[in-house]
């Protein structure tokens, strides 16, 4: 295996490791050797992890009369502390995340509005046949973790799919993933409550989803190319509103460049099962010279396909530096621009923002 291929494989492994249950498949190509080698004595391993995003943000919000107002604050968009345990084919992971105890605009919180810990992931898993992994508990869902890992831009914000509340990155349920032979990718299926990891189940309907991450040419010049598709059939809320999602994406994950373009079509949004919405999003991250990082991301969210011009557009441009494999810093500019009726319906959504972001991950 040459170095560049190792790099590509490692990047894909990062992406796949957050997709349900395919990390081992991406690790190497020696399942046959396992079959003939006597099994060593098993000892449990425990691997802690930490992921902290800290940022300073200056936001200028434009009002409908043309005036503007600004606000600035220090934030921690992500505080994760995780522990993964494994012994043989059995493993599990728990991730705690820090979150504000009161929602936007709320005054009732815990200890004022303290940042409190909640469970982001808590699952047990089993690997079988060196290709199949089954997880159950609070598990990563099939789409957002894969997209986040593929383009490695989570430091600059969540995907639009998550930001607009069209999908949750984790949920209570179970997933099964099968790693295709020879590095061709993986197919996954899952069943979830459908309310996301932040809510209790509210209806009898369960979401079912499948996804496929395909590397059409896992060897050679096009090895970094991956295609992703997912369909989820679901319901949301006590009223069981339709909430189906079709996602397609194309990704390129090279040593120095990661790019992703995705399209999502939603049947049902924001508790309205009759609405049809879609999101287009594309981004690229590059490491052209030494520690320098460059990134750009844009998205358009059409809130209702039946309403002309009701959309929100976002653009992020960022320059950063990677001080080590554990630390990277960014200076980012974000612009959010509602169009048409969205401007009236979403006060405060017309804004730009300057951010200084630091990410430490172990």
């Amino acid at each position: 295996m040459n170095p560049s291929h190792r790099t590509r494989t490692a990047m894909l492994a990062v992406a796949l490791s957050l997709a349900p249950g395919v990390a081992r498949a991406a690790d190497g190509d020696a399942p046959a050797a396992h079959a003939t080698t006597p099994a060593p004595a098993l000892t449990p391993t425990f691997t802690p992890s930490l992921d902290v995003l800290a940022q300073y943000a200056l936001r200028d919000t434009r009002a409908q009369d043309g005036s503007s107002s600004w606000f600035h604050q220090f934030e921690v968009p992500r505080v994760w502390l995780g522990l993964e345990a494994a012994e043989g084919d059995v493993h599990g992971r728990v991730i705690l995340e820090g979150v504000r105890s009161a929602g936007d605009g709320a005054l009732i919180g815990i200890g004022g509005d303290s940042i409190v810990a909640r469970v982001r992931e808590a699952w047990g898993g089993y690997r079988a046949f060196d290709a199949l992994e089954i997880r159950a508990g609070i598990v990563p869902t099939l789409v957002i973790p894969t997209l986040d890992a593929t383009w490695a831009l989570r430091a600059l914000g969540p995907t639009s799919l998550e930001g607009y509340g069209l999908s949750s990155p984790a949920d209570l349920g179970a997933t099964a993933s099968y790693a295709l032979p020879d590095g061709y990718g993986a197919v996954s299926a899952g069943a979830f409550n459908g309310e996301g990891y932040t809510n209790r189940e509210l209806n009898r309907g369960k979401n079912s989803a499948f996804s496929a991450l395909i590397r059409p040419m896992p060897r050679g010049a096009l090895a970094p190319l991956a295609l992703f598709a997912s369909y989820e059939r679901g319901s949301a809320g006590t009223g069981s509103s339709r909430a189906d999602r079709l996602v397609g994406a194309i990704a390129f994950t090279d040593e120095r460049v990661q790019g992703l373009a995705s399209a999502t079509y939603a049947w049902g949004a924001d508790g309205d099962g009759a609405r049809r919405a879609w999101v287009l999003e594309a981004g690229v991250k590059a490491a052209p010279i030494g520690p320098l990082l460059l990134a750009a991301r844009g998205a358009i969210y059409v809130r209702d396909t039946a309403i002309s011009g009701d959309a929100v557009r976002t653009l992020t441009l960022a320059v950063g530096a990677r001080a080590s494999t554990r630390l990277e810093g960014w200076l980012a500019f974000d612009r959010t621009a509602p169009t048409g009726a969205a401007r009236d319906a979403l006060p405060g959504s017309d804004n730009w923002q300057l951010r200084a972001v630091a990410r430490v991950a172990f």
Binding site: A35, G105, L107, T238, R343, A345, G348
Partner: protein, 502 residues
């Protein structure tokens, strides 16, 4: 085994997946019904989790009449104003900045006569459960649509009269918007904010003021058949249902620990008043847990407290209402999203900004009780609230409802024009926005208000259908999380829900 099974795994996985895909999801047939149910239960999620019987009472109350549904469905209104294509989601006159001191839910029944510290009455907003800061149009449209709903339900016992007010709903809605626009223009031009101390030519308000004066003179709330009883010269609060025709309105004993905590709460509350009376006036005589009051606030902890008043004479005893406060659901528009340090401060700040004088109810304060944020105010029959059930006959013709709407619109403009929290008055910006096309503004609000009232009417029918089909919790299937024993005792056991009649 792995060599045998591995090639079959993808097919097995796909088969299981397809099976799951077609079988698991269970979705509502009617999307709007699902939206109504999900939105309302989501807004009440914390209450449903801990006090389902009380939430069931609220939904049953909402299902009892159209106006009750409108009162209890603010969360749906808030959802709809952000929904693409909804009649209240867009405007040529939208202005998201500056935010105004918002009443949050200024439907007509959240206004009423209040008696100020100097003993004079005035029409004021009297409910600040949802008050915070918000864009002006949100409040105005809630009021305008509320007047259109009132036009629909007024004269319930007179079909002919009701047909006339219903037919005039758009005119009434327009008059409400016009009262707002005219008053805002005047305030922006430098006119002083006016206290509405008389009926302003409205027959409905004349009746309201007259009933308020009469009740104040007679201290109706202390009369026999009311919430209190006089036994051997000592006044106490009645246990049970003071009005046998309203079996859901019940007064019950408070848990001992809650009762014991009241003196400290009353003293803390006294210090939040604009002009605190002598502490002796708040000497606790009796207190009860109250069920079956309000609509949106039906599930909240509520108590009636009987205190000594100015003298030991039971004739001047004073009743106070203690009501749990929860988040407004109105804030969060602009960073940082909140403008007050806590809930009592929010209610004190918004109410005193909204009133023509800060002591519009001299006994209106807010503090905590057993750690629970609470609002405490006068519980008096003299504080007469606008009621659609009283909109009957000659005081509720189409013309009279239009006059009432105009006064309420003007009052709302006065509230919005008030400068709060170091921000200047929003009146010039709002007035300038409206002045671009005043008639267009009035037409737009009238059309929007009547359209939303029509939607709310359809929603009400859907809501009732859900209750009949799925029960008072609208099909919510999640088990209650048992609260701590002390909290459960404070929530109490409400009387059984009176079933809806088809």
């Amino acid at each position: 085994m792995s060599r045998v099974l591995r090639p079959r795994l993808p097919r097995a996985l796909a088969g299981a997946l397809l099976s799951a895909t077609v079988s698991c999801a269970e979705r509502a047939d009617d999307a709007r019904t699902a939206t109504i149910v999900s939105t309302l239960t989501d807004a009440d999620q914390a209450l449903i989790a801990s006090r389902q019987a009380l939430v069931a009472g609220k939904y049953a109350r909402m299902g009892r009449d159209f106006y009750g549904f409108y009162r209890g469905s603010l969360a749906l209104f808030a959802h709809d104003e952000r929904a693409p294509g909804a009649p209240i989601a867009t405007s040529r006159f939208a202005l998201d900045q500056p935010l105004v001191p918002s009443i949050g839910d200024p439907h007509p029944e959240n206004f009423g006569v209040m008696w100020a510290g100097d003993g004079t009455p005035a029409l004021e907003p009297n409910d600040f459960d949802a008050a915070d800061r918000a864009p002006y149009l949100r409040d105005l449209r809630r009021l305008v649509a509320g007047m259109a709903v009132a036009a629909t339900v007024a004269n319930a016992d007179d079909p002919a009269a009701q047909a006339q007010t219903r037919a005039a709903a758009r005119t009434i809605a327009r008059a409400t918007a016009q009262g707002y626009a005219d008053s805002m223009a005047s305030l922006a031009g430098g006119a002083p904010p006016a206290r509405i101390a008389d009926a302003q030519g409205s027959a409905y308000l004349a009746d309201l003021f007259a009933r308020a004066v009469k009740a104040r003179q007679k201290r109706t709330e202390l009369e026999a058949g009311g919430p209190t009883q006089l036994v051997s010269g000592a006044r106490t609060l009645v246990r049970g249902a003071p009005d046998p025709t309203a079996p859901e309105s019940v007064q019950a004993d408070l848990p001992a620990f809650a009762y014991a905590a009241l003196p400290a709460t009353l003293e803390a509350y006294r210090q939040t008043l604009v002009a605190p009376p002598d502490a002796a006036q708040f000497t606790l005589i009796d207190a009860v847990r109250v069920f079956g009051s309000g609509v949106a606030s039906w599930p909240k902890v509520r108590a009636i407290v009987l205190v000594r008043g100015p003298t030991d004479d039971p004739g001047d005893d004073v009743l106070l209402e203690v009501k749990e406060l929860t988040d407004s659901g109105t804030a969060g528009w602009w960073p940082p999203g909140v403008d007050y340090p806590d809930l009592p401060a929010r209610v004190r700040g918004t109410s005193r900004a909204a009133w023509a004088r800060p002591d519009a109810d001299p006994l209106w304060g807010a503090t905590t009780w057993l750690g629970l944020p609470v609002q405490i105010k006068s519980e008096s029959e003299a504080f007469k609230t606008v009621r659609t059930s009283k909109m009957v006959g000659s005081i509720a013709t189409a013309d009279e409802l239009a006059k009432l709407g105009a006064v309420l619109g003007a009052l709302l403009a006065r509230v919005h024009a008030t400068a709060v929290l170091r921000a200047p008055s929003a009146a010039p910006a709002i007035a300038a926005r409206i002045a671009r096309d005043r008639d267009g503004f009035l037409d737009e609000q009238a059309a929007c208000g009547t359209a939303y009232a029509a939607l709310a009417s359809d929603d009400y029918a859907r809501f009732r259908g859900v209750i009949f089909e799925h029960g008072d919790l609208l099909g919510h299937v999640v088990d209650e999380i048992p609260p701590a024993p002390s909290l459960a005792a404070l929530f109490g056991t409400p009387p059984p829900v009176v079933p809806l009649t088809p």
